[in-house]
């Protein structure tokens, strides 16, 4: 169920990358794909009825099936931060693209030959 949602989101992101002519939209589509992939990864670790993988007073002991899989969550934590790094670099590149080519629309950009 969650898988389907995230796959559709990936599809929308790819569609956006291919149709949109505004570079800012490319960045946004990339971010949508990132979010979708993150949801997908966390979903692979979900266990029906499982608890968050934190030992507390109420859930003090280990048992198979009690907690959801923590490893995908750790991976997603990394992936989210990597996404931010990519986005920040992309945003700063866009600022300079706008300065140099006076537009961020692929069709109106000046001085992009070939």
């Amino acid at each position: 169920m969650v898988y389907i949602i995230s796959i559709i989101l990936v599809g929308i992101g790819v569609y956006g990358l291919m149709t949109q002519k505004n570079l800012f939209k490319h960045l946004i589509s990339l971010s949508i794909i990132d979010t979708a992939v993150n949801i997908f990864i966390v979903a692979t670790g979900y266990v029906n009825g499982g608890k968050a993988p934190i030992y507390t007073k109420n859930f003090p002991s280990f048992a198979i099936g009690r907690f959801v899989d923590p490893l995908p969550q750790a991976l997603v934590l990394t992936a989210i931060v990597i996404g931010v790094g990519t986005l920040a670099v992309g945003a700063s590149l866009l600022v300079r693209v706008k300065e140099k080519h006076s537009s961020i629309d692929v069709e109106n950009m000046k001085g992009v030959g070939e």
Partner: protein, 464 residues
């Protein structure tokens, strides 16, 4: 020892952000240290691992140091070392280059799928930074978007591998029994994910813009980084997935060769022409890797080493020319040393006798005939014909056409390096063992899955 290959450049990068002026000398220091560490542990001939945080292999992250990763790390660090010798090429990009170096080393050495994703992303981000030099922002942005998508797909592939096997360790994934349909999913996604860095056909739109946009990017991205990426293709499809998904790779690679060469022939910009040629060579290497035998893979990396050395010279000279002259006609009359090394490197690219490229192309074609594959040699011969076309055209243009009055100072360091490397190409023709020995060891190590699994999973030792 081997964790130092990653730790030292990282530490120095963190330090040099506080003292900006030190970035260049520290980059040089990092490159020298890495070369020393590598030379001190010459060809391990066995599979050594370094366990991070002393957690045993299928659980924690481990670095793998065998003949394959040693040879790849040696080539990668060698080119970083060469770049660090040229301070006016590095400029303010010292910190980024150190990070790129740490990431490329980590990408080559790691034995963990997710860890390789992290290093790939560092490589993408720093490579984009390097590519944005000389206001090449639009092309860098395109590269960033493609790299970002490739990263997401690579991550998806990794998570498919994790759900199929329950672990992220390459050695464990390679010995686990994965159902055929699952294997198709994983290899397809990995092919897409690596396709951007390995310059495969539908995903190589960024190459000409990034390589053609400034003089630093092609020199480092076209040699070190693409070697690291193509090493990972061999490691994943050769060692970890035992040659599944080879058909897809083979087809894509052949298309890549043709498209790359044709685009190179039509290209009017010196840097971009050879950028497309580097796409085509990557196609040759991937097609050879997809053959899957140890000898084919060894030859693939032999060819890649020759190509990387030749490309380093070509891009170095071309970058100098493009950014110092408006009109390139006849410039080599003023720069005879640069011209001589450029011509030698381009002839090696085509595969004229007397140069290294001849040895690798001949061996590859003979190997393919012995495997009864006639399509690929035909494609390669066609590609060589096209190569002759543009190489001769550029050489004629740069040597013999009417020169203009422009004059730039001879770059002494770059000229010397270019000359030494192009003489190295001649030396490799006379004595191919210089590269061939290491490349063959690399091919054997990549094809020998059993040894890899044994080395990683049963030899549990911490330590340097």
């Amino acid at each position: 020892m081997i964790s130092l290959l990653i730790a030292i450049p990282l530490l120095l990068a963190f330090v040099s952000v506080m003292w900006k002026r030190l970035a260049k000398p520290l980059f040089f220091l990092a490159a020298v240290t890495n070369m020393t560490v590598l030379l001190a542990s010459w060809f391990p001939n066995s599979v050594e691992i370094h366990v991070m945080g002393s957690w045993k292999p299928p659980f924690g992250i481990n670095l793998v140091f065998d003949n394959a990763s040693f040879y790849a790390a040696l080539v990668v660090n060698f080119f970083f070392f060469l770049v660090s010798l040229m301070p006016n090429l590095v400029e303010s990009y010292g910190v980024s280059l150190m990070l790129l170096m740490a990431a490329a080393n980590g990408f080559v050495l790691t034995g963990d799928l997710f860890n390789s994703f992290v290093f790939m992303e560092i490589m993408t981000i720093t490579a984009v930074t390097v590519a944005s030099r000389r206001e090449n922002f639009y092309n860098a942005f395109k590269y960033l978007i493609l790299g970002g998508i490739a990263g997401s797909i690579y991550l998806l592939a990794t998570i498919f591998a994790y759900t199929a096997t329950g672990s992220l360790n390459m050695a464990h994934v390679s010995m686990a029994t994965i159902s055929a349909s699952s294997l198709v999913a994983i290899t397809t996604l990995y092919a897409i994910g690596l396709g951007v860095e390995a310059k495969l056909f539908p995903l190589n739109g960024w190459v000409s813009g990034v390589y053609g946009g400034n003089d630093l990017a092609p020199v480092i991205l076209g040699t070190s980084v693409s070697f690291a990426a193509l090493y990972m293709v061999g490691r994943l499809f050769g060692t970890v997935f035992h040659g599944s998904g080879a058909g897809v790779l083979y087809t894509l690679a052949l298309i890549t060769i043709i498209i790359g060469e044709v685009a190179a022939l039509r290209q009017q910009n010196l840097l971009k022409a050879f950028a497309y040629s580097s796409v085509a060579q990557a196609g040759v290497v991937v097609a050879m890797i997809s053959k899957g035998t140890s000898r084919a893979m060894g030859l693939a990396y032999f060819h890649l080493t020759n190509d990387a050395v030749a490309k380093f010279v070509i891009f170095l000279v071309a970058g100098f020319l493009v950014y110092n002259y408006k009109n390139l006609n006849g410039v080599f009359k003023k720069h005879k040393v640069l011209g001589a090394s450029f011509s030698m490197a381009t002839f090696s690219l085509v595969g004229f006798p007397l140069f290294a490229g001849f040895q690798s192309k001949l061996r590859i074609i003979m190997e393919l005939f012995s495997m009864k594959d006639y399509l690929f040699p035909a494609v390669m011969l066609l590609a060589t014909l096209i190569e002759v076309g543009y190489v001769v055209r550029w050489n004629v243009k740069l040597w013999f056409e009417e020169e203009t009055d422009e004059k730039a100072d001879n770059p002494i360091v770059a000229g010397t390096l270019a000359l030494i490397l192009s003489l190295l190409l001649v030396a490799v023709f006379i004595k191919p063992e210089i590269f061939l020995g290491g490349a063959m060891k690399m091919g054997n190590a990549l094809a020998d899955t059993k040894d890899y699994i044994h080395g990683v999973l049963s030899v549990v030792k911490g330590g340097m």
